[in-house]
């Protein structure tokens, strides 16, 4: 006895009400318009007409269109709003980078292209998640090896020893390791097993966090620790252990505050940067002044003076955007990350199986926490940590890691849509 067909007509009626004509194409064109207007404006910032920005802008736009077409062609159905959000963030990022330093922007674009290739690869692997999961142990070993190796051969930069140089370019392995941690967690938390079996992923995560702390990359350590807790909590619902973990983390934070002078320094500078203006407070003070100098609509693209802030192209890119585009734009940018989070979570909820659901959750959480921590640090809500603003900050490893995350998220989205379609096909 099948369910009566009267129900079907009811649902069809209501669904029609919900249905809305939305054109992904149209929105993409508007995003590209934004980008081209920006580069167009930059093209005569030097007095005479300079075609380079325009050409750069055209290349960027063409790249986005190409990606869009290819994704539609290969995967047919993917999460379009997430795609558009990512495109906007990338576009705004490249525009701002170009405005500050065209060389950085070109390097960033190159990294983006590599990232795009990897993105498509990752999208494709989702179908074979069973095979991927067999690689979990090698991934664990590999990550630990890389992080441990950093202790020895790592190059120090900005107070943290988390860079390696391969073939002339410097990489930040922690960016990739964080994805590995999420992957490992999702794999183990998939099955309903006893806590004992979870010892492997949890101690893996703890080891990575510990190594990062030793290498003084506190931002990444905090990020991975929080993400682990969140994924664990979502997967098990075990509030007790999660709170215990948070508590342990807090204790660790307090301990590091008492033990390490550089942690103390960060907290002091956070509380009153003006007191140490001549040394450590300089960056934060100039950042705040830059944000305040923007006004509601900004000083205007190219009219700000953000170059005096150290790390204006990486950590402080948000202050640059606030100065040139305004506070309203700053708030809107935060909202774009909110959209990213919503899309990521929707993808997680629609995932085909539990592993993919947790993996999507973990990846989205990474981006969420990362953007919150860095924006919070720049506006002095929390102490400043050295992590990047996803998709926007300059940084090869950061860009590639973000594209990989995009790849996985879109892959899971495409996969679940396909699966659903097939399931309906059977019925």
């Amino acid at each position: 006895m099948r369910t009566s067909s009267t129900r079907q007509t009811n649902t069809t009626k209501t669904v029609n009400e919900i249905k809305m004509t939305f054109s992904a194409n149209r929105l993409l064109i508007i995003i590209l318009l934004f980008i081209m207007l920006g580069f167009g404006l930059l093209s005569f910032s030097q007095g005479s007409m300079d075609f380079e920005p325009l050409i750069f802008g055209l290349i960027v736009s063409a790249l986005f269109v190409l990606i869009y077409v290819m994704m539609k062609g290969i995967f047919h159905d993917f999460d379009r709003p997430l795609f558009l959000t990512t495109v906007f963030l990338l576009g705004l990022g490249l525009l701002t980078q170009y405005r500050m330093n065209p060389k950085n922007a070109k390097s960033q674009l190159f990294m983006l292209c590599i990232g795009v290739v990897l993105m498509f690869l990752c999208m494709g692997t989702i179908k074979f998640d069973n095979i991927m999961r067999k690689l979990t142990v090698p991934i664990i070993i590999g990550s630990l090896a890389i992080m441990a190796a950093l202790l020895v051969v790592g190059k120090e930069s900005g107070g943290a020893k988390n860079w390696i140089i391969i073939g002339g370019r410097s990489f930040q392995p922690s960016e990739f390791v964080k994805i590995a941690v999420v992957f490992v967690l999702a794999h183990y938390l998939d099955k309903r097993t006893k806590l004992k079996k979870l010892l492997v992923p949890l101690s893996f995560a703890m080891a990575i966090v510990f190594l990062l702390i030793v290498e003084k990359d506190l931002g990444a350590a905090m990020l991975i620790a929080l993400t682990t807790l969140i994924v664990y909590f979502a997967a098990t619902g075990n509030l007790g252990i999660t709170l215990a973990g948070l508590f342990a983390g807090a204790l660790g934070g307090i301990a590091s505050y008492k033990l390490f002078s550089h942690v103390r320094l960060r907290v002091e500078v956070w509380q009153n940067p003006w007191a140490t203006y001549d040394s450590s407070g300089y960056q934060i003070v100039q950042g705040l002044i830059a944000i305040a100098s923007g006004g509601l609509f900004g000083a205007g693209l190219g009219l700000g003076s953000a170059k005096i802030i150290p790390a204006y192209h990486t950590d402080y890119i948000f202050a640059v955007i606030c100065e040139e585009f305004g506070i309203i734009a700053g708030v809107l940018l935060i909202a774009f990350y909110i959209v990213f989070i919503i899309r990521g979570f929707l993808i997680a909820l629609n995932a085909r199986n539990r592993f993919l659901m947790l993996f999507a959750l973990g990846c989205t959480t990474l981006i969420t926490l990362q953007s919150f921590i860095i924006i919070g640090g720049v506006i002095k809500l929390i102490p400043l940590t050295g992590i990047t603003l996803p998709y926007i900050s300059y940084g090869g490893s950061s860009m590639i890691a973000c594209m990989i995350i995009s790849g996985f998220l879109q892959g899971i989205a495409a996969d679940s849509k396909k699966y659903r379609a097939e399931a309906e096909g059977k019925a």
Partner: protein, 186 residues
């Protein structure tokens, strides 16, 4: 002319913010609508396929599926929701109902027994789990429960498969229509 650039950049500020706001609002509206349509679907599915009974015996009816997501009576009588015409079943034999999960109870426990997984349930309300077999007279039914993950610590289940909701009862067209955007962007 530097002056010209300053003026142009000053004017463009509003354009940039307006475009940003427009793009954002469109994306937010889509996400909200997708979210609410998703909840709508979840509610639909709750009603539709929370639990099913699959007939094992008699052989002639093997494979038939019955929806038991709501209060369902089973018996020989025509008035019952699930009517099974064999002698071994009473006129009104059992009721399936849903409290927090699926339960079965007998109408007249002294006269007609119900066996869940081969043990009699007596006069209690017996909780049913996915995979349980119910014997009513000579009819054997298997219980399928389709729902989300159980709490991690409970080791009640060991299914490897993530059972997709809506297997079997959803119209394909309906799913296409909730997909907000045209495949070809028109």
């Amino acid at each position: 002319m530097e002056q010209a650039y300053t003026i142009a950049a000053t004017l463009m500020r509003y354009v940039f913010v307006a475009l940003m706001a427009y793009i954002l609002i469109r994306l937010v509206i889509i996400s909200i609508r997708e979210w609410s349509s998703r909840r709508f679907w979840e509610k639909q599915l709750e009603g539709k396929a929370f639990a099913q009974l699959e007939v094992i015996e008699p052989y002639s009816k093997r494979g038939a599926l019955y929806d038991v997501s709501h209060k369902t009576t089973i018996g020989r009588n025509r008035a019952c929701d699930i009517q099974i015409r064999t002698r071994s079943i009473a006129k009104k034999h059992a009721i399936f109902f849903v409290r927090d999960t699926l339960y079965i109870t007998a109408y007249e426990p002294e006269k007609h027994q119900i066996y869940v997984n081969d043990s009699p349930i007596g006069r209690q309300d017996a909780r049913l789990f996915d995979g349980d077999t119910i014997k009513i007279g000579r009819v054997t039914l298997k219980v399928h429960i389709i729902e989300d993950e159980e709490l991690y610590d409970e080791e009640l289940f060991d299914d490897d498969d993530f059972i997709e909701y809506g297997s079997g009862d959803i119209d394909e067209d309906e799913f296409d229509e909730t997909d907000e955007y045209d495949q070809d962007g028109e």
